[in-house]
């Protein structure tokens, strides 16, 4: 298999001492940031002691951007410019958002198929809005921590597809955050509990947040988490309970919410408040009153609320059933159920989950914080602060990836629940005599027809030499990296002509777009972009030098003498350029060493493969 570039790996870490890496739970309703210090995870608070920051961004006419609690306060007064639940828009195309459009009072514009929200200070995409939230979190952390943040693990719902993951990574880059790894939220929750309790066996992670529901079945054995199956609904959450309750309130009191977005938002806020209170109280009184005008009062009992939200809770159990079936446990018992997300505070949810699985769910870690706690642990591990840890997270690709074939059918290339990273190649051929081009259409989903699956990307492979039908051999390669991001390439084999195309997900940002966005939305950032890039390159060069010197010292004998010397020379050259203040010089030297060391790295990896299986009987092989 050819060596292939897998998206862009995380960049810089200084190669010495203790490094600071944070875990970020970028939620639909709230976001958190946490860090591990002296073996304990701290969920970081702002100056007022708040740890749960509403994922709300308000754009003001004076170009000011307000994020968090302050923005949430204005949501009732300035709904059109105050963006909530932006996570639901991540990675979505303009045609995917009808549902969102009917539920929220924003005006959307299409920017080359990518939806953007029109505000008083301009149009913003979901990626840009999320970047504001991430940047806000980063500031809070940097105010709390003395050191600079060198990397972050950001969590995403297990159900996020490729475009949604890419959009999340893009948002982090916009906010100047180096992403070590995207981590599935349920996996993060398991990390938080798994390390604390050390309990081996099958875990079910029931994650019912503000806007998404995820169920994951994981197996934990001797330091390894393995995702057996995932399921859920990316548009089902506590928001839907609020929505259902507010609809009930509106019909009970005949509240005139049409053409009055402020009032609608106010009723939604009241509904959420009532739902939260009913987790502890048996009954509440709701008084609908906005700007001095009263719309009436309601009395609601917990049973009353439960009747309204029961269909939503039942929907989650259906996904649980499917995930259990997919996990194919064959009688293996479920050892623990981890509850994640604010909606699991609702007593009905806990009751129903307990009744369904037959065991009491775990609730000892705050369900709002558990994901951030796990992410912080994983970030600390990945940045290299725990060299002796055996913990390794093994993820799977949650949905099958396929390609469109004749007749609108899907040929699956990577089956769902395949361990990632993975690369798979499949050969296709031409259909007509003299055909010189082939459309490669990448789809995601379990169904057999293209129209029932989600289209991720398409591109055309051109320059196939004219041949009779069936003679050309087009090799299509799908590869998924450890973050679950997909790259697809295609090449024609028979002629030896190298025609190769790489696709990025449809809604990913190009480097140029990224730079212009950073300049546009963060122009008043104190750091000059150039300066930032130079620093990153210098750190990267030093890190690379350290890593390669250690490797050469240990495994230099794997290389033939002349290759060893040539590589050493190039390393020496890189050493001389690390303190240069010219970005291009460093970048070039880095590229040279990188290229020269690829063969060495592959040899080392082969050695690791052999060593991992050493001690086995030769006759078994």
């Amino acid at each position: 298999m050819a060596l292939m570039q897998i998206v862009e790996p995380g960049q810089t870490q200084a190669p010495h001492q203790r490094r600071i890496a944070v875990g970020i739970d970028l939620g639909t309703t709230n976001s958190l940031i946490a860090v591990m210090r002296s073996a304990v995870v701290d969920v970081l608070a702002d100056d007022s002691g708040r740890k749960l920051f509403p994922s709300v961004v308000q754009y003001q006419s004076n170009n000011q951007v307000i994020v968090g609690e302050a923005a949430r306060f204005s949501s009732a007064l300035d709904p059109q410019n105050t963006i909530i639940s932006v996570k639901r828009l991540m990675g979505k195309g303009f045609e995917d958002i009808h549902d969102f459009q009917s539920k929220f009072p924003y005006s959307f514009v299409s920017n080359q198929g990518v939806p953007a929200i029109s505000t008083v200070s301009g149009d913003y995409s979901a990626t840009e809005i999320s970047a504001q939230i991430l940047s806000y979190l980063k500031n809070i952390a940097e105010n709390r921590l003395v050191d600079k943040i060198q990397g972050a693990v950001i969590t995403v719902p297990a159900y996020f597809d490729d475009a949604q993951r890419q959009a999340t990574k893009d948002a982090a880059r916009l906010a100047g955050i180096n992403v070590l790894r995207l981590l599935n939220e349920p996996t993060a929750a398991a990390v938080a509990y798994g390390l604390d309790s050390g309990e081996e066996g099958i875990h079910a992670i029931y994650d019912f947040g503000g806007g998404t529901f995820d169920i994951s079945i994981l197996r934990f054995t001797r330091g390894v988490f393995e995702v057996l199956s995932t399921g859920g609904d990316s548009s089902l959450g506590g928001d839907d309970m609020d929505q259902a309750l507010s609809e009930w309130m509106i019909s009970q009191l005949s509240i005139p919410v049409e053409k009055n977005p402020s009032l609608l938002r106010h009723v939604l806020n009241l509904a959420r408040g009532a739902k939260e209170s009913l987790s502890d109280l048996d009954e509440v009184n709701i008084h609908v009153c906005l700007q001095g005008e009263s719309y009436g009062q309601l009395h609601l009992t917990r049973e009353g609320l439960e009747q309204i939200i029961e269909p939503i809770v039942s929907k989650t159990l259906k996904s649980c059933k499917r995930a259990l079936r997919d996990a194919n446990l064959q009688g293996e018992p479920i050892r623990a159920i981890v509850m994640v997300g604010g909606s699991t505070r609702v007593p009905l949810v806990r009751q129903k989950v307990e009744a369904f699985f037959g065991i009491a769910p775990l609730v000892s870690i705050d369900p709002d914080q558990v994901v951030a706690v796990g992410a912080a642990r994983q970030a600390d591990l990945l940045i290299g602060n725990q060299p002796n840890s055996d913990l390794l997270l093994l993820d799977v690709c949650p949905l099958s990836l396929g390609i469109e074939t004749m007749g609108g059918l899907v040929e699956k290339i990577i089956a769902r629940n395949t361990s990632i990273p993975v690369a798979k190649a499949q050969e296709f051929t031409t259909f007509k005599n003299g055909q010189t081009a082939m459309l490669i259409h990448v789809v995601q989903g379990e169904r057999e027809l293209v129209k029932d699956c989600r289209s991720l990307a398409q591109f055309t492979l051109r320059g196939i030499p004219p041949m009779v039908a069936g003679a050309a051999k087009v090799k299509v390669i799908y590869q998924i990296d450890a973050d679950g991001l997909l790259m697809v390439s295609a090449q024609e084999l028979v002629s030896g002509v190298q025609a190769k195309v790489e696709v990025k997900p449809s809604y990913g940002l190009s480097d140029e777009q990224m730079i212009s966005m950073i300049q546009a939305s963060f122009s008043n950032a104190e750091e000059d972009l150039q300066q930032r890039t130079l620093c990153e390159q210098q750190v990267e060069a030093k890190r690379m030098l350290l890593a390669i010197e250690v490797a050469l010292d240990k495994d230099g004998h794997l290389l033939p003498k002349n290759e060893f010397e040539s590589l050493s020379q190039k390393v020496e050259l890189l050493k001389q350029t690390t303190d240069s203040d010219d970005i291009q010089t460093i970048r070039k030297a880095l590229e040279v060493v990188d290229k020269a060391s690829q063969h060495f790295a592959a040899l080392r990896m082969n050695q690791s493969v052999s060593q991992a299986l050493i001690g086995q009987q030769v006759d078994r092989i």
Binding site: P9, P15, L382, A423, T429, F600
Partner: protein, 177 residues
């Protein structure tokens, strides 16, 4: 460089493989090769790790599943997989497929769909088990690749039918609510 998937995962190249060993070896390899182990290493090392891990995961995926494992074994013996355009040559197999499909369609419109489907599903599972057993015997007796491929084809069909059964099962459940 190791090219054979069985060698890569350190197991003997047979159809009746040691499943526990396959799992254990895959686990060991993941422990030492997974890219997360190289998050702080050079770019070249990350690339080598992700490439190697991707190949190991693909090998594991192929070997874990009896159908793909059987096909892979045939390929190792120099047999060429027929293209999709090649139709099934066995008439009895074709007849059986049509009959089973018809039966499934009738179940969908029947009054007691769920009951019938449960029975049908049990039958498919049993046929699958028997076919797997037969495939194993065929490999042991070193029968011709064409014979073995016929068994594989039937297994593939049964697997596909099973996924249709599951889909119908879900559909019936939704109608139930």
């Amino acid at each position: 460089m190791i090219h054979n998937y069985f060698q890569l995962l350190g197991i003997k190249a047979t159809f009746d493989l040691d499943n526990d060993l396959l799992l254990a070896n895959h686990r060991k390899l993941q422990q030492s090769i997974h890219p997360d182990r190289f998050a702080a290493s050079s770019h070249a090392e990350k690339l080598a790790a992700v490439t190697q891990m991707a190949q190991i995961n693909e090998a594991f995926q192929i070997l874990k599943n009896p159908v793909t494992r059987a096909e892979y074994l045939l390929q190792l013996s120099g047999w060429d997989k027929p293209g999709d355009e090649q139709t099934i040559k066995s008439l009895p197999l074709l007849m059986e497929q049509m009959a089973l499909r018809e039966e499934l369609e009738e179940i969908e419109t029947a009054d007691n769909s769920q009951q019938l489907l449960d029975v049908f599903c049990g039958n498919i599972d049993q046929m699958t088990q028997q076919q797997l057993q037969q495939l194993s015997t065929e490999f042991q007796q070193k029968l011709s690749a064409d014979t073995i491929y016929l068994s594989i084809t039937r297994l593939k069909f049964l697997t596909k039918l099973k996924s249709e059964v599951i889909r119908l099962d879900e559909k019936l459940e939704e109608l139930d609510d």
